[in-house]
């Protein structure tokens, strides 16, 4: 088990390999469909400091508000594939070192990970309640009114957030390996 503090220097990210289990601590920013579209099309600057060597989390949480204080009630990952058209540009332009999500991403993101020094961290989909335990504090929220709860940028402080590296900075992807192996069985099953 590897422990990493965010922000993560490039050298540390390049040491990671697919299959590594990691506990992340530090600032993590949630962003999903509306957020990625905005980051690419309008390139806002309010996230620059948080995302440089930082981590994005594909997540639309259930959030509780008590007085002025927000907290996460359930916060597992959402399907990352929807951000494939945007992710490579976001990694490049913000200097992101890690993307947390589920289901993996495609060739453009994998190439951006290799070129700019980033990895894809896989969290266990559906584990809303247990993952919320690692989100210790909601530091800020952006675009809540405009995007709604699931799509807003939630700036959080996490402690020991459990993930597995499934795409590394060396061009390796567990998702590609599993797809290729399942394709062989698929071809056999589809005969006849």
């Amino acid at each position: 088990m590897i422990r990493l503090e965010i922000p993560i220097p490039e050298a540390r990210i390049r040491e990671l390999k697919v299959g590594d289990t990691v506990l992340l601590s530090g600032i993590v920013v949630t962003a999903r469909d509306a957020g990625h579209k905005l980051m690419v099309e309008e390139r806002p600057h309010f996230l620059d400091d948080l995302l440089r060597e930082g981590v994005i989390y594909h997540c639309g949480p259930v959030v509780k508000k008590e007085g002025e204080r927000w907290s996460f009630v359930a916060a597992g990952p959402t399907t990352s594939a929807r951000e494939e058209p945007y992710q490579a540009k976001v990694i490049e332009s913000y200097g992101v070192r890690g993307v947390i999500g589920k289901g993996g991403m495609g060739p453009a993101t994998l190439e951006a990970c290799r070129r700019f020094g980033a990895v894809y961290f896989h969290a266990v989909g559906g584990c809303g309640t247990s993952i919320a335990q690692s989100v210790r504090e909601v530091v800020a929220v952006h675009k809540l009114e405009e995007f709604g709860t699931p799509e807003a940028f939630w700036v959080t402080r996490v402690v020991d957030f459990p993930v597995i590296v499934t795409m590394d900075a060396h061009g390796n992807s567990v998702h590609e390996t599993v797809r290729a192996a399942s394709k062989k069985v698929y071809d056999e099953l589809m005969k006849g």
Partner: protein, 292 residues
């Protein structure tokens, strides 16, 4: 609108969001037992089972995507369905305020989230009158990630080499599960709708999710079809979350309905491992939940 009914429906929604049905949990436990210790697959099942237990204990949502609410209400002739729908809406709004549901109703053109889970066709409710003197309510919470990997085929399909028969239907399902990989939160439950038009075919595929895992199809030919297909799909080796593993699907259920001579639709719906569904009967004003 009766406050008692709203309270009953609220408790029903709360249970659906926070308590995984016991048959689904048992299937996940069995899948965990099969994976060699120390693999990503085994660790993933362990994390899933921990989360299921924690959600039940804390009374918090199993998954933050509390899905779209799909209700079926069977009712005696003469029930005021408008009032019943209002009660469902009130319960859904209350459950959203209590953080049991994430606000999931978004206007597709403005992008505005209603914030309450209420909107056009949200929740989606189907009323059916029946002869019994009691109301039967079924609910599934259908996640969006798994909904996105559902797909529909039109037979014959030359690309798949699939004709208008069970062999052709089988190929559609294998193709859909292969393409889904881990993206629908594998291992999922697969619902297959055979026949009908485009709309009813998808509906039928989703109605299959109310079956208990491991239950037999009442049609013997389809029962054999389901069991063989279940084994074949697990050979794909996609495993939990697409990490590779021995369990790619938890079960496969197929239903049929008559079709137009010109059409032959096969719809494949995917329910994530967090297969949240719940049924209750309301008799003389009192609600009885089915055993979980």
């Amino acid at each position: 609108m009766s406050e008692r009914l709203v309270e009953q429906l609220y408790a029903f929604i709360r249970s659906a969001s926070t308590e995984l049905p016991s048959d689904v949990e048992a299937a996940l436990r069995e899948a965990h037992r099969r994976e060699p210790p120390g693999t990503s697959a085994a660790d993933t099942f362990a994390a899933i089972l921990d989360n299921v237990a924690m959600a039940r204990k804390n009374g918090t949502p199993i998954c933050q995507d509390t899905g779209s609410m799909v209700f079926y209400v069977h009712h005696p002739v003469g029930l005021d369905t408008l009032a019943f729908r209002k009660a469902i809406e009130a319960a859904a709004e209350r459950a959203t305020k209590a953080f049991l549901l994430r606000p999931n109703a978004v206007h597709p053109l403005t992008g505005k989230n209603s914030g309450t889970n209420l909107g056009v066709n949200a929740p989606y409710v189907t009323f059916k009158a029946w002869e019994k003197d009691e109301v039967r309510v079924k609910l599934m919470l259908k996640g969006g990630g798994s909904e996105n990997v559902g797909t529909q085929y039109k037979l014959p399909d030359a690309t798949l080499g699939a004709g208008r028969d069970l062999k052709g239907i089988r190929k559609c399902v294998i193709d859909a599960v292969f393409k889904a990989q881990g993206m629908g939160c594998a291992p999922g439950v697969i619902g297959v709708g055979i026949g009908g038009d485009r709309a009813t075919s998808y509906l039928l595929s989703k109605e299959q999710f109310f079956r208990r895992l491991g239950s037999a199809n009442e049609d013997p030919a389809l029962d054999t079809f389901e069991k063989e297909l279940h084994a074949d799909l697990n050979r794909l080796g996609i495993g939990p979350m697409g990490f590779g593993g021995l369990t790619t699907v938890l079960d496969v259920f197929a239903g049929w309905q008559h079709r137009h001579p010109a059409t032959f639709y096969v719809s494949v719906s995917y329910m994530c491992w967090a297969c949240r569904r719940k049924e209750m009967t309301i008799r003389n004003g009192e609600a009885f939940h089915d055993p979980a």
